[in-house]
């Protein structure tokens, strides 16, 4: 009798790590790649999930909640990230708010829309120029270590962080 253990998916690991780090508030603007995570978050009463109209709002809600004592994370796609540099540069960075972002990377490794490919190329230069810690997760076995480490570092160093979900993690069929 042998049983095949069911492997935890990336989204299940993220949910577990968020809980372990007391990250209760989630704000997001939807994205197809993030859908499995979004479904799990809505289904879990541990999380307060808010769906504002724009990514800037999603950032500011988490920033406000942090200052009032509640940890949060904001989820978005690469094109959404391109709408928030002013909120990062004038709110999050100068006020030293540990905003944790999870960005699903679209526009590379098989993109079919030129606009998505071009906006994707703006993300890392913006993160670098603002000095925002970022890392792209490519493999399932990196998810727990990277998400946990980046959340902990953000809150202990009082600095924002961008956890990027590479298509290598979210689109590649497991070998």
């Amino acid at each position: 009798m042998s049983t095949t253990p069911t492997k935890e998916t990336w989204s299940e690991i993220v949910v577990r790590v968020l809980k372990a780090n007391d990250v209760k508030l989630v704000t997001y603007v939807p994205d197809n790649v993030l859908l499995p995570l979004i479904k799990l978050l809505h289904a879990d009463p541990y999380f307060t999930v808010m769906t504002p109209a724009r990514e800037e709002e999603a950032v500011a809600i988490v920033a406000g909640a942090y200052m009032a004592g509640m940890r949060g994370i904001t989820l978005m796609q690469t094109s959404g990230f391109a709408t928030i540099p002013n909120a990062l540069a004038s709110l999050v960075c100068p006020f030293q708010i540990p905003l944790v972002m999870m960005v699903s990377e679209r526009g590379t490794l098989g993109e079919f829309q030129q606009g998505q490919a071009m906006v994707c190329r703006t993300m890392r230069p913006v993160l670098q120029s603002l000095g925002v810690e970022h890392f792209a997760i490519q493999q399932l076995d990196q998810v727990e270590f990277v998400v946990d480490g980046m959340i902990k570092q953000a809150f202990s160093t009082q600095a924002p962080a961008a956890i990027i979900l590479s298509p290598l993690l979210t689109k590649r069929v497991a070998a």
């Binding site: 200052m67 009032a68 002013n86 708010i97 809150f155």
Partner: protein, 203 residues
């Protein structure tokens, strides 16, 4: 208040931002949080006395309401006010729908509307050309959205906010007078004072 509440922008008295800010602050007795948007809104909040429960936003125009919403979500037993100008809220009208959808009981948005981008040389905003912010807030789903007819009515609205559930949206027409001071621009100091004021343990 029912008949006073049925007004539109062109039917209400033009008041003064410094005066109304001081009137609002004088009513706050329960450590209510106030998030001041950028520019003259911020400067007049600063000039009204630096309460530790005040947050002074610098840059990030339009973000006062979502910041206040985040504060309100994290501390549901504290009343939270977002103060902002017409030019600022016009940049982030979706946030009115977000507030309505969240049905955040402890949140009130107060907008000073002089129809001007006053700080950049008094260019006209859309409210000078017919956009009615109270109608927009109502349309976004904030049922308790009102124009303040005059100072007395503004005071009554604030009292109502303090003793009843929101969300609320109040707009006041104001003049083009200069603010009564200038905020000290030290972001980390502002954040730490605010977090101490809210007794927020570093999460």
């Amino acid at each position: 208040m029912s008949h006073d509440n049925a007004k539109s922008r062109d039917q209400v008295k033009t008041m003064n931002r410094s005066g109304l800010t001081r009137l609002l602050v004088s009513k706050l007795k329960a450590q209510e949080a106030v998030v001041g948007g950028i520019g003259n809104t911020n400067f007049d909040l600063w000039a009204s006395g630096q309460r530790p429960e005040n947050f002074y936003m610098l840059g990030s125009m339009g973000m006062a309401t979502p910041i206040a919403l985040g504060v309100a979500v994290a501390q549901p037993n504290r009343k939270v006010f977002a103060l902002d100008g017409d030019g600022s809220i016009l940049m982030q009208l979706g946030s009115l729908g977000t507030v309505a959808a969240a049905a955040q009981k402890n949140l009130a948005i107060i907008i000073w509307d002089n129809g001007l981008y006053q700080i950049t040389g008094s260019q006209q905003t859309l409210t000078s050309k017919g956009t009615d912010l109270v109608a927009m807030a109502k349309g976004a789903g904030i049922a308790q959205s009102y124009w303040a007819s005059d100072e007395k009515h503004f005071e009554a609205l604030v009292e109502n906010i303090l003793s009843n559930d929101g969300p609320w949206f109040i707009a006041a027409r104001i003049d083009g007078e200069k603010p009564a001071g200038t905020t000290e621009r030290d972001p980390v100091k502002i954040r730490l004072n605010f977090m101490n004021g809210l007794s927020a343990v570093k999460p």
